[in-house]
Symmetry: C2
Subunit: 333 residues, 2 copies
């Protein structure tokens, strides 16, 4: 009998959840009721937001309950259906959690995957929330103009690399901030950044100033913390900053202290704005269509880092926060 | 012979300039050249921005030079003219500095004062940059909708009191943050705030939460610092925050530390934006016309605090920062 291999949150973490906060187990697959369908999962997604979901701190979604399958985006194929809108063989992506088989009534489906000429795993990355995050965070919040300079933190990451490439497509000059020599080379050679800077240096602010003497018009921020502090010393007049994530600071209870940004924002008449892709739920379609076309045209590239099997999932969030992945981190189920 | 009584910046301050950083002196009035006119000043304006102008720190204008008349907005009457566009008897306002008589070529004139049915001193306050700051900072940056809740720091001040009243005119609910019982009564009785809170209490965040259980949709921030920190704990989804001033923190070199705002902005998908009224130079007219009409209709009220003569000017900026004024602080020349 087929069972659902799932990974549950077994204890609460304060910072980044570690492997021992999770338990892998097998559970029975419920019989389908009318209006339900069964998804056989292909891939689970590992995303920075999962830290927040596992913690018991104020967030835009309630925390995952202890004993429940970890909340996660996933992609899979419909293998049985008593739902009129979902047919066997269709590929769907949504918040199905760390389950190898999941029963859905459609409410947790984000979309049917239509771009069947491309790998279904892309629905979790560059054609999923990462790509859509890059698309709307950059184009709606930062709104770069041709000739402006855009700086991206975690420039080689699955969101950041798309941001950098979309900014180039829109005619901006791009500066990428990343860590290792390996990722710097990736940023230059694969993602086409005009300038690449490692944050592992004594004078990051000086390096940023040298890379953009007139200041940054747009900043797509995935990190907060000291990297962000350095960028804030070099804002152009009218700068637009998208807060997409705060990956460099793992604990927000109590709120960490840092340089107050108000005066820098005032002097530059700059705008600092929080962005959550889930607010754009009704507008995913046009972004995915644009991204898929750029992939087909060879203007947008991506990297995937695939972990093997449910047993690899518990340590995956920590791997992500330690920067151990090379590209969008996914688990093949 | 008439002389120009002026107040010069005689030494550099680090924080708020004190009386002994200035010297009162008499200087000759130059003979007018073609294209110039002479203004006999009626009032000088005392504004928070003057601290920044006196300091040698990065700002949106270069610092005032030692030995020069202090930079200041002022209003006065044209008493002699060799300029085709300025006639004797016209009232003008602009950045004429702490001079009792100033020669101008028109380049430092903000506008001719047309609303001659109202006191010319209003051109330095509610019909000057304070009123226009309130108007555009609130309506352009915060953009309050009817039924939303707007919180204002320095609610009884010359900018804040106008912000609160304009927000009410636009159909919002208003919460004012101020200091003393006297100012609280002023906020309630004169400026019509729905709720008034003193920041001089142990649990400001709790009081703010009680005043707006669903959070603040708009925050017009004149203070930064601990007041702002408390407001940030109670942001509504999609909140818009206008950084107009940072009056509670007098020293920005080095940048003071405080709670990092990024996560709060991200969770609320809120927007924090720096505002400088000088960017709206081309749009002062419509704002002043609207403000003057609200004054004539009795929907917008204001207070003035008048100091007597040039000798009162050197201590005036410190008086403003100590909160010793009751209404828009001006010097009658």
């Amino acid at each position: 009998m087929t069972t659902n291999r799932r990974v549950i949150l077994s204890s609460r973490s304060k910072g980044v959840p570690q492997a021992d906060h999770f338990t892998v187990e097998d559970a029975a697959i419920p019989t389908l009721s009318t209006g339900q369908f069964l998804i056989k999962m292909s891939y689970w997604s590992i995303d920075p937001a999962m830290r927040g979901w596992a913690n018991d701190a104020p967030n835009y979604l309630p925390p995952v309950e202890i004993g429940a399958a970890m909340r996660s985006f996933a992609v899979g194929e419909v293998v049985d259906s008593k739902h009129p809108d979902y047919a066997v063989g269709e590929v769907v992506t949504g918040m199905f959690g760390w389950n190898s088989y999941a029963v859905s009534d459609g409410s947790n489906v984000d979309r049917k995957v239509a771009e069947t000429d491309l790998s279904p795993s892309l629905a979790l990355g560059v054609l999923g929330l990462n790509g859509v995050t890059a698309y709307y965070g950059l184009l709606d919040v930062c709104d770069p103009k041709p000739g402006e300079t855009v700086v991206v933190s975690t420039a080689a990451g699955s969101v950041g690399s798309a941001v950098g490439q979309i900014a180039k497509i829109k005619g901006a000059r791009t500066v990428g901030i990343t860590s290792s020599e390996e990722k710097m080379a990736l940023c230059r050679d694969e993602f086409g950044y005009d300038e690449v800077i490692s944050y592992r240096q004594d004078d990051l602010a000086g390096a940023l100033k040298a890379a953009a003497p007139d200041g940054f018009d747009c900043y797509f921020d995935n990190t907060c913390g000291e990297i962000s502090d350095a960028v804030f010393t070099n804002l152009a007049l009218g700068a637009r900053i998208c807060i997409c994530g705060t990956a460099s600071l793992t604990d927000w209870d109590p709120i960490p202290v840092g340089p107050r940004v108000h005066r820098q924002l005032l002097v530059a008449r700059a705008r600092l704005q929080g962005f959550l892709v889930l607010d754009y739920r009704d507008r995913y379609g046009p972004a995915i269509a644009a991204l898929a076309n750029w992939i087909r045209d060879g203007r947008l590239t991506y990297q995937e880092h695939v972990l093997d099997g449910a047993e690899a999932a518990p340590g995956a969030i920590d791997l992500l926060y330690r920067g151990g992945n090379r590209g969008k981190l996914i688990v093949v189920v």
